[in-house]
Amino acid sequence: MQLTLLALILTLLTVIGFLIGRSRAAASVGGRVAELHSVPSYHGVYVALWAGLPALLLFLAWTASEGWLAMQLVLSALPERLTTGDGQSVALLKADILNLARDISTGREPDPLVAEAARRYAAFRDLADWSLLAVGASLAVAGLAWGRHRIGPDLRARPVVERVVRVVLVLCSLVAILTTVGIVLSLLFEALRFFTVVSPLDFLFGTHWSPQMAMRADQVGSSGSFGAIPLFAGTLLITVIAMAVAVPVGLMAAIYMSEYAGRGVRTWLKPALEILAGIPTVVYGFFAALTMAPFVRSVGEALGLDVSSESALAAGIVMGVMIIPFVSSLSDDVINAVPQSLRDGSYGLGATKSETIRQVVLPAALPGIVAAVMLAVSRAIGETMIVTMASGLTANLTANPLQAVTTVTTQIATLLVGDQEFDSPKTLSAFGLGLVLFLVTLCLNMVALRVVRTYREKYD
């Protein structure tokens, strides 16, 4: 409540600050704006920043520390027998206080001391919020007044505003980077917990995948086995099939679009191809499972082959179709970026269109095409749904595309679906797989970048 009010007050003061700053700046030179060092709107933003920014910083610092401070105050008032003990009992005590303070039942009759502490905690938080509101609002008003006071023809408002803008931009890019780092770290720590239970060597080089852990010693099938080779092999197999479909088709579609198609055809063909990229992968999944897999099976049977009803081939082909727009759209852009002068040079020597494309345009576009293909590979490796639905969960170690295989991402999904205990190796193995997946795609992307940078021709 108080915080919403504060947010409203700050917004209002900021807007008012902007308007006041702008009009006062113009007034300070009697309307002859050219005499100002900075144009009036910079003065407006300057006052608005003074009104909003200090209060916002206070707000952030306050909310970050308030809960911790309140807890410390409350705990210090409790008798020592409650606050000393191992980490877990203290954590439990804190959780009880927090829950009681929010009127959430802890499921048992609370210790009167704890109940009292919770009441004090809630009261303190309430008081703190009100004082934050008071202090924040006064700070905003004071800032506004100060900013307004500073305004004059010689105020260098523009450099100040530009500096603040720059800091904001830096913070935004840091958010993206820090999120990535956070995700990688959480992946890393969970994976490390997994590797304390299962040796990394067994995981990386074992050929049997059966992620079960015994609950009792005499349980049937209790021998958990975490050899991930079948998953890697399955991922590789499906990716290879998908790329075998997507690269030739996508590339040739790109060549048609950029070199042969007239402007009219191109304007509808390219968006139409890109629609393929907009179909949800689940839809591809049931297309693969209900249409492609039976089709592959019946064709295989007609040829006298033994085809599993869930085959790597079906999943791979459909995944390839899904990836076509990635390859075609990116390659099309790259091919269009090849300078016309190269084509002219080739035509001028009496080369035909296909000779020109094969021997001049494609080599010139190659780095970009490689990058497009690498991106498509990353995409294929990361794809989960199609394989889950069309190729199944059986961790076969086979190179036969007519058999069912499973992939790393599919396994991660199955391992984490439903209610799971987060301390069993079965669940933790998902993080191990995730880490490997992350490292592989990272390497692929770096190789792709390197290739592109090394072989890029410089055209000006």
């Binding site: 300078p339 190269l342 002219d344 040079g345 080739s346 035509y347 020597l349 009496g350």
Partner: protein, 281 residues
């Protein structure tokens, strides 16, 4: 000193090839390699050329001059049908190579371009090695049977383009690693390698420094012995230095075409006079 008198001085200082051979220059002297009659070009609704009649004599250098947008490059690109690659471009009239209509049904644009080669404004070496750049044309036309013969063609072409001495130890390096002037000579070598009869040059020196330009100009003079050359240039001194005949284009029309010396010393048309004295363009 005005531009015109500068050019006239150059013409005096530098003995003309025609004077050396004692042959009198003029339309009657040499057979026509190519002829253009009533050539009109449209880009969509816009007309770029308004009926051009022009003879291109064998083993001569013809310079096309004129202000920007006058249609001289468009005309050049008609001669080997490079305009076919531009969407919405339409060519009317007749252009003949050795008496045969190049826009006729019997002529394949691809084969025509092997006979009428082209060098472009900006050096445009392919993203291949120096060797492969030159070998590109002979390979696609099957001009060389076997490795040795191809080596021979590449070497001869590079020698004729005056580049052999500079690149003979680095034939495997990419063509783009050469300097601008070397790249342009590589492009000329590439054009020569398919043994064309006519070479079209579209402002071949406009992206080059004066020394590289001098190289190319010498080269053009040497190439004249074996090829018919048409060169578009913005640089009137260059036209005066390298060409035997000059045609002046203005607003899609060919104003006059005569011996280079005549054009620069005694132009018949006012517009030509105005252009070469720098009044406009």
């Amino acid at each position: 000193m005005s531009i015109t008198s500068g050019i006239q001085n150059q013409l005096k200082l530098r003995p003309r090839a025609d004077d050396r051979t004692g042959q009198r220059s003029g339309a009657a002297g040499l057979p026509n390699k190519m002829t253009a009659r009533g050539v009109k070009v449209f880009y969509g609704a816009k007309q770029a050329l308004r009926g051009i009649d022009l003879d291109i004599q064998e083993n001569r250098v013809l310079a096309l001059i004129g202000p920007s947008g006058c249609g001289k490059s468009t005309f050049l690109r008609c001669l080997n049908r490079m305009n076919d690659t531009i969407e919405g471009c339409r060519v009317e009239g007749q252009i003949a190579l050795d008496g045969e209509d190049v826009y006729g049904k019997a002529v394949d644009a691809v084969q025509l371009r092997a006979r009428v080669g082209m060098v472009f404004q900006k050096p445009n070496p392919f993203p291949k090695s120096i060797y492969d750049n030159v070998a590109y044309g002979p390979r696609i036309h099957g001009l060389a049977s076997g490795r040795d013969e191809l080596d021979e063609v590449v070497q001869t072409s590079l020698k004729r383009a005056g580049l052999w001495a500079e690149v003979k130890d680095r034939l495997r390096e990419p063509g783009t690693s050469l300097s601008g002037g070397q790249q342009q000579r590589l492009c000329i070598a590439r054009a020569i390698a398919v043994s064309p009869e006519v070479i079209l040059m579209d402002e071949p020196c406009s992206a080059l420094d004066p020394i590289a330009t001098a190289h190319i100009e010498e080269l053009i003079d040497e190439l004249r012995a074996n090829y018919t050359i048409v060169i578009v240039t913005h640089n009137m001194q260059q036209a005066a230095r390298v060409s035997q005949r000059t045609a002046f284009f203005h607003l899609g029309e060919m104003v006059e075409c005569d011996d280079t010396e005549e054009i620069f010393t005694n132009p018949r048309d006012e517009r030509t006079q105005g252009y070469i004295t720098g009044r406009y363009g």
